[in-house]
């Protein structure tokens, strides 16, 4: 009997893994993800190629000479009369600074000939604020003002650490990085649950539609067929993740050390251990943190280990509902409405996971990460923040208990559904089928 399930699993697995589309998506997906992450940076690099010119008409006479241009914008003070400057549309814009600006009685106005830019606006605003601040400080006639200001303005670095008792060292943590990892993992989980769950459903509908089912069930019990299919497709998902884990491990332990300069690597590890001297720090702390995380194979394995546990539990839970739906309908169009039973809670889970990402310790986040319908997504987003392990274990136990229950119900619906042709059933009918002897 067990070997029959084995045969079904093997068939389902081989059919998918040997497909070209599987191999292509497995390779392309990480590339697309990296590309998506790098895209904003690339776009910025490309858009800074042309420098915009802003003409400054300074009625106060206190600002214009201190404005500093950068690669994005540079300032000119034109000699022409105001009207002709305003009419010159070769300029990006005209900045008019009114007389009372130092006393705060009037504003600076920017007239643009093209669409405005947030970065230019905030650049101008902060420059003017700084200039006014400096001007006003000068008015107090303090001695050695420049020296004092230099001394006062000290850049600081905020490092956060997980305070873990029982461990000798506290490990470094960063909310920004945890947030990014949590959200990325949750999206991955969400995508896999929907994609592979639907694959189970489509495959069952196909089997029913072309009547190969009639031949298969004369050798295999319907429940065995359903379980074999779910496990076989689940293994495809696990395979895909494992391939990525191996890729990341290779990148982390071989490629990353080769790419990143040695002094940055040593800074990253010192940073992670909390022994770094802030005055020697010459890189962005978040970047260092990211490097130290991607360079930490143990951490990658841990996070993906959790991902797999929640993926398997969540997949078995949701795909058995998908299987029940697939067995009940004749074609994918009919499945649309019934599918909302699955898609709805998954999307709700995703939405709440986003909320939980900004406050992982709220009661709502805790509760939703324990309820099986939403727990895979919400728990996955919280794990990178470092939460008590009892919460993770409870969540997993609840998820696994409920998937056994869900599989049991789905098998009952499936057994009836696969022989029902023609009529499109309702959710109520599905529930009634589950109660058949």
């Amino acid at each position: 009997m067990a070997s029959k399930i084995g045969l079904v699993i093997r068939r389902e697995y081989m059919e998918r893994v040997s497909k070209k589309s599987f191999i292509i998506t497995t390779i392309l997906m990480p590339i697309v993800m990296v590309a998506l992450m790098l895209a904003p940076a690339l776009i910025m690099m490309m858009s800074t190629t042309d420098t915009k010119t802003i003409a400054v008409i300074d009625d106060s006479g206190a600002i214009a000479q201190y404005l500093e241009g950068n690669e994005e914008v540079h300032f000119i003070t034109p000699d022409q009369p105001r009207d002709s400057v305003m009419a010159d549309d070769s300029l990006f814009g005209v900045l008019v600074i009114e007389r009372g600006i130092l006393t705060g009685n009037s504003a600076a106005k920017l007239y643009t000939n093209a669409a405005g830019s947030i970065s230019i606006e905030s650049n101008i605003k902060s420059q003017i604020e700084n200039i006014i601040e400096t001007e006003k400080l000068k008015a107090y006639n303090i001695e050695n003002l420049d020296q004092i200001l230099d001394d006062v303005r000290t850049p600081i670095t905020l490092q956060t650490f997980r305070n873990e008792q029982g461990k000798d060292e506290s490990s470094s943590s960063s909310s920004a990085i945890s947030y990014a990892i949590g959200v990325a993992m949750t999206f991955l989980l969400y995508m896999f649950l929907l994609l592979y769950g639907q694959m189970v459903m489509t495959s069952i509908i196909e089997e029913k539609n072309n009547r190969v089912l009639e031949i298969v069930v004369s050798s295999v019990r319907p429940q065995q067929l359903m379980m074999g299919k779910i496990i076989g497709i689940g293994l495809v998902a696990v395979t895909q993740i494992l391939i990525w884990v191996i890729l990341m491990t290779v990148i982390s332990s071989i490629v990353l050390p080769a790419l990143v300069p040695a002094d940055m690597m040593s800074q990253a590890s010192a940073f992670n251990a909390g022994t770094i001297d802030a005055s020697t720090l010459n890189a962005d702390p978040d970047l260092l943190h990211a490097i130290s995380i991607f360079g930490n194979v143990g951490y990658i394995l841990e996070i993906f280990g959790y991902l797999l546990l929640f993926l398997i539990g969540g997949f078995l839970f949701y795909s058995s509902i998908y299987a029940a739906i697939g067995s009940a309908v004749d074609n994918i169009q009919d499945a649309g409405q019934l599918q909302s039973v699955v898609v709805f809670p998954i999307i709700i889970g995703l939405i709440f996971a986003m909320t939980a990402a900004s406050d992982p310790n709220s009661t709502m986040a805790l509760v939703l990460s324990l309820v099986p319908f939403t727990s895979p997504m919400v728990m996955m987003v919280r794990i990178p923040f470092g939460i008590p392990s009892w919460e993770i274990i409870t969540s997993l136990v609840l998820l696994y208990i409920s998937f056994i229950f869900m599989v049991w119900i789905a098998a009952k619906i499936y057994r009836v559904g696969i022989f029902m042709y023609g009529k499109k059933p309702t959710v109520r009918e599905l529930i009634r089928w589950a109660s058949y002897k």
């Binding site: 045969l7 068939r11 059919e15 009547r211 190969v212 031949i215």
Partner: protein
Amino acid sequence: MDLLTVENVSKQYTGHKALDDVSLAVPEGSIYGLLGPNGAGKTTLIRIINHITAPDSGKVILDGHQLTADDVAMIGYLPEERGLYKKMKVGEQALFFAQLKGLSRSEANYRLRQWFDRFDINNWWNKKVEELSKGMAQKIQFIITVLHEPKLLIFDEPFSGFDPINAALLKDEILRLRDNGATVIFSTHNMSSVEEICDYMTLINRSRNILSGRVADVKASYAEGRYDLTFADDPSAIAEAITPMVQNHVIFPRENGRTRMSVKLNPDAQLRDLIEIANKNADLRGITESVPSINDIFIKAVEASNQ
């Protein structure tokens, strides 16, 4: 010796009874026709025999013991509505189904190669099923059904969709399997094929078994005392003369210079008396015993049981 007996099997679905106290016995080594109008309950009965669904009451005995899930290895089933995995290669797919029936991979491979040789289809092995025509796919399905050499074969409308050449090939194969010791259950509403190849039959109508027995016996029981007489002239003159010895008579419209009269003799009347009267009063040209076709019996029995 009966290979399969079905005893008082009933099966209820919500709102309707699919099988109502059905019993039948399939003798070993026979071809057994399972007849009935659409929706009579044939497919439900076949699913119960295949251990796909369980009966509400009654039992199924196969080869001397009550049917269990392991017995499916002894059964080969070709469903009426059948398909194959479209994206899978023919050989790989046949191996998969053979292994599901309990054959080892190497044994399955060996037997498949023999069948592929027999049907001369070795070049299909690495084709995907979606590349095959319907008739080709049906051959593969047939091979899959019989490959594990089951004792009991169940064919549900096997000839539907076959072209005449392949239907003849299939018929020969079924007869050959029977001769090699297999027992065949044959579900159909194609009556002529029943007459050609079935030894026994059961007629199911409205969830009940309304007629069972040897095909020859069933036909004889419906033939009793019915004769067709052919005349060169008008036989209405003799109608009165034969009235005492027949239960009824029918004169058909004249056709090609002949008039046909069908009569049913009283049980105590003698055929030679009928011939004598007919010969004396009209120009009698021929007489045959009219044996009803299974088709006639089917319609008659179904109509009678529907009343």
